[in-house]
Symmetry: C2
């Protein structure tokens, strides 16, 4: 019995952005667990049992993974992007914290991945070039007031702001409210990037301004980057402008 | 003449954390440019000219890369971690912005990598499990007052805080001042992680509290994560505690 649990990031979608560490763990695992669309990214293989689940069942999924690892299985839980960013790693450790004390002795590893904000930033230029923050716009697990407070303080701090989970079928108004909040604290011309399905066949990158940003253009697969007051555009003939935030900053 | 310029992230140090996309670009390049210790990570190869340079010469390095790509060379600029996070991508686009207008027509791509905060977080558990920010503690290119202001606002926002470049041979007092600043706004028991040389042979991960954090324990290779008021520890027999920040948050 030498079970283990690896919590792995598959990156934004392209196979060439999956680290060799994750590929190796996938090859050794006996059980694959995750939100069904992420499980579907991993090729089927004899000896690998697949446990796809719905999006809202993170804690159940975490407990299943821990049970199987405790039974001696080699279990890999997959997330999109990095597993430590608004993904499964926190859910697994929450389950360990509140669960069977013997789970604390399990061999649990987190295998990092390329998070969506870095993939989107890379396509746009270098918008995260200086101090930045990442905010999850979902108010399923925290009050909206806290999200607005973080947006306001982030704008006052001059952080570039990456917005995860801006919209979903069940959450329609949150991104519009977030943009309204940011417009009260940042210049209307602040460069804004909508990156959708980055690294996948249907990828789109749109560069706009905070004033013109259209909340209805985002969905679950969209990552939004709001620049700081220092973020600049470099126009290019025949292409979208490059977006970058200089390394230097004034007061 | 079909030159290109790729700005690539080598990740924190381990070969199994270099993406296949970067490995492929390294295999096709004619010229390798970067801070000498990062250039040294790439194996020598016939047909690949190496241009290592000092740490402080980012803009010169960027201009050299653009000149060579404009001459038709296949150029790869390497950074540790992700090239868009306190690294070479912003320097290259700054050089494009201020340089020869023909550089805007070049084929320039950014190839993301695993940033130090995700590698350190993965080793500690899931400390970045909720909203977080990344702050560069170097005051070489921005005033210290701005850094203190960002630390204060980040603490007030309840962000988990990743501190990059906490210390160097030329910068001794900054991390101590940053910890003092954070102690005025966060509980003394706030979990704090010092990750050093993560993914390399001499890796160390130390879990402490904000009150007990010792600035002299950090150097250039250290990445520091300061939890939020919600970050928790899971004690484990015979191991360092797991550190995670729950996905849910109260007001």
């Amino acid at each position: 019995m030498s079970g283990w649990l690896a919590i792995a990031g598959l990156g934004p979608g392209a196979a060439e952005l999956v680290t060799p560490e994750v590929t190796q763990a996938l090859a050794q695992a006996t059980d694959l667990i995750g939100y069904a669309p992420y499980v579907a990214r991993v090729p089927e293989r004899v000896g690998l049992t697949r446990h796809g689940s719905d999006n809202r069942e993170e804690l159940d999924r975490a407990r299943l993974a821990l049970h199987l690892a405790a039974e001696g299985r080699r279990v890999i839980v997959v997330s999109s992007g990095d597993p430590g960013v608004f993904a499964m790693a926190a859910a697994v450790f929450e389950a360990v914290d509140c669960g069977d004390p013997s789970w604390r002795n399990l061999d649990i590893r987190v295998l990092p991945g390329i998070s969506a904000m870095f993939a989107a930033a890379a396509r746009a230029g270098a918008p995260l070039g200086h101090d930045f923050c990442a905010i999850n716009l979902s108010d399923n697990l925290k009050p909206w007031d806290l999200i607005e407070r973080r947006l306001r303080l982030a704008a006052q701090a001059g952080f570039v702001i990456a917005l995860y989970n801006p919209s979903s079928q069940a959450r329609h108004w949150q991104l519009g409210a977030a943009l309204e909040c940011l417009r009260r604290h940042l210049p209307p011309t602040t460069p804004t990037v909508f990156g959708r399905a980055v690294g996948r066949a249907d990828e789109t990158i749109a560069v706009t301004t905070l004033q013109s940003a259209d909340a209805s253009a985002a969905d679950m697969a969209t990552l939004i980057i709001i620049g700081s007051a220092e973020t600049r555009l470099v126009p290019r003939p025949g292409h979208a402008p490059l977006v970058y935030t200089p390394r230097s900053a004034l007061a």
